[in-house]
């Protein structure tokens, strides 16, 4: 057996040159992260440095032209939209995953899987267009104006549904076959086996998929920009139009200057930090589920 060390020894001059060039390129790619962070921080520095960041939470409202930068309504709106989307997508996605793993066979299984993949490939702006012209009028028929937390959450949930369904299906298929056979042997019905054995065993994989799609939903711009209404206010009902952090950036970047521009970069930084936290939790859980699977 050849050891890894002796294999990784570089033979010729050519190899050394190639290795050095490639490593420089790789470090360049990684440096992109520092560059992005650097620009986010330096552009928002005027507001962060002087301790003025507290104003994002304490100011009386979002009136950038008068120097008031309270982001709380938009943070709450982002969280409400994301929470709504996950609440809709989780049960439906889980049902799709159960269908894929335990019910579908042959052609329907293949077809359903590729349908989910296609759904994942639809551009977000097309989801927004569909939501605005088809879904919003339906909601407006119940309560005007139609562009609302509810519309945003429904369209967002359709966007993250494939991720939830496919990662959950992968987690379910990773459940030890002997465990399931044991459940059958104990006389469990299909339903009890799925709810009491399969889903708990696949728990951390499912949660990690949900966290990833939560990160995607909170960072999504176009859908919430197009169907959520863009009014800066605390959402007081499902039918209230709101503006999310991401759509605020998209709406105001074009004319923002000075402190206003800095506040937009600060909200970008905040978004990034939230998304990273979620991604970190997801990878932690994924690691844990892999350890469990090995035991």
């Amino acid at each position: 057996m050849l050891s890894k060390a002796s294999y990784t020894q570089l033979g010729s001059k050519l190899d050394v040159v190639v290795s050095v060039v490639l490593s420089v390129l790789s470090f360049l790619c990684a440096a992109l992260l520092c560059l992005i962070l650097w620009f986010l921080i330096s552009e928002s520095w005027t507001l962060i440095a002087s301790g003025q960041w507290q104003r994002f939470f304490l100011d009386e409202g979002w009136y950038p032209l008068e120097g008031l930068y309270a982001m709380t309504p938009m943070i709450v709106a982002s969280l409400a939209l994301t929470l709504g989307a996950v609440l809709i997508a989780l049960p439906i996605g889980l049902a799709c995953a159960i269908y894929l793993e335990f019910y579908a066979r042959g052609l329907p299984k293949k077809a359903f899987r590729s349908l989910l993949n296609l759904l994942a490939g639809i551009p977000s702006v097309v989801f927004g267009l569909w939501g605005l012209t088809e879904l919003v009028p339906l909601i407006a028929a119940i309560k005007a104006p139609g562009t609302s937390v509810l519309a945003g959450a429904i369209v967002l949930s359709l966007m993250i549904l494939p991720t939830v369904a496919l990662t959950s299906a992968a987690a379910l298929s990773g459940v030890n076959r002997n465990t399931l056979a044991g459940a059958h042997a104990l006389g469990f019905t299909q339903k009890t086996m799925i709810i009491a054995v399969a889903i708990p065993s696949a728990r951390s994989g499912i949660i990690s998929g949900v966290l990833l799609s939560t990160a995607r939903a909170i960072g999504e711009t176009m859908v919430v920009l197009m169907v959520a209404g863009n009014v800066v206010q605390m959402p007081d009902s499902l039918f209230a139009p709101v503006r999310a952090l991401t759509s605020n950036i998209a709406l105001e970047m074009a004319y923002a200057l000075g402190d206003h521009r800095a506040s937009l970069y600060a909200s970008g930084l905040l978004l990034t930090l939230i998304v990273w936290l979620l991604a970190y939790l997801a990878s932690y859980l994924n690691e844990k589920s892999r350890v469990f699977a090995r035991v």
Partner: protein, 275 residues
């Protein structure tokens, strides 16, 4: 009995998902179909996009995509090869890997903020096709690298050792054996990247801009298809019809580009197998 209800609801929910998918796709196809014609593709937009076609927008989309791919592909494959094959000091590689994973999670609107501050203002490129393409390149790099890297790592180790035993240099083993063997992963990464880049809107609104004239050079501001759809829906009253036409073109474009990428890579790899 409750077992039956459970199965029934699982089937029902799956059907609802299929129905929602069919609703979205048929909506775009039916409303877009009447508008799409050869004229629509080759003529200039009129009346803020309500009438006319999308020729300059299609050209801009392809330019932005081309720049993003020309930058991201070589850089991405190089990094993937280094991470999978050459990174002996493992700590450096682990750090780079983590940085890439973190980058993959950054929301696209934040790439837009970065692109605006760095490419448009700091490097002085302004609102231009080049700024937009470079921003997109940054955005697709991490996912592309990770997909290619896992493909190269997954190649059976015996092939590497066989190559070395035949006296091939490491770099020749990579070029002649590993890359062709990792072809499916590279194609998958490319398809993912093209899909993401073509569909991207938020990162491009303030890097490549809004101008809907035919671009004359890479330094002109230009409007891509996704931004065009957004603008027609939100800022142009009565633009819905044209928006649906553009949406249909966008989806077809993504499918065509993916097929093209697949066949190009296929033929490129076939040549390298026989040379």
């Amino acid at each position: 009995m409750s077992d039956r209800i459970f199965s029934f609801s699982i089937y029902c929910i799956s059907l609802i998902v299929v129905a929602a998918f069919v609703w979205i796709i048929s909506d775009v196809v039916l409303k877009g179909y009447s508008l799409v014609s050869w004229d629509f593709i080759v003529s200039e937009p009129e009346d803020a996009g309500r009438g006319g076609g999308i020729a300059p927008i299609l050209v801009s989309t392809l330019w932005v995509l081309l720049i993003a791919l020309v930058i991201a592909l070589p850089l991405g494959i190089a990094t993937a090869i280094w991470l999978a094959e050459f990174s002996r000091s493992n700590t450096g590689a682990v750090h780079i890997g983590t940085a890439l994973d973190v980058l993959a999670g950054v929301p696209s609107i934040v790439y837009g903020l970065f692109g605006n501050a760095f490419f448009c203002i700091y490097l002085g490129l302004g609102y231009s096709i080049l700024s937009g393409g470079l921003t997109l390149a940054c955005m697709i790099l991490p996912v592309f690298i990770r997909t290619c890297e896992s493909g190269i790592r997954a190649v059976n180790s015996d092939w590497r050792l066989g190559g070395i035993a035949l006296g091939m240099r490491r770099s020749v083993v990579v070029w002649k054996i590993l890359l062709p063997a990792a072809k499916p992963a590279i194609i998958a990464g490319l398809v993912l990247s093209i899909g993401r880049a073509t569909a991207e809107t938020a990162a491009l609104i303030f890097t490549s801009g809004y101008v809907d004239r035919m671009p004359e050079s890479m330094f002109d501001s230009a409007r891509v298809l996704a931004v065009h759809i957004y603008d027609l829906t939100m800022n142009v009253t009565g633009g819905d019809q044209a928006a649906y036409g553009s949406a249909l073109i966008l989806i077809v474009l993504i499918i065509v580009l993916n097929a093209l990428a697949q066949s190009l890579l296929d033929s490129w790899f076939r040549r390298s197998e026989y040379s």
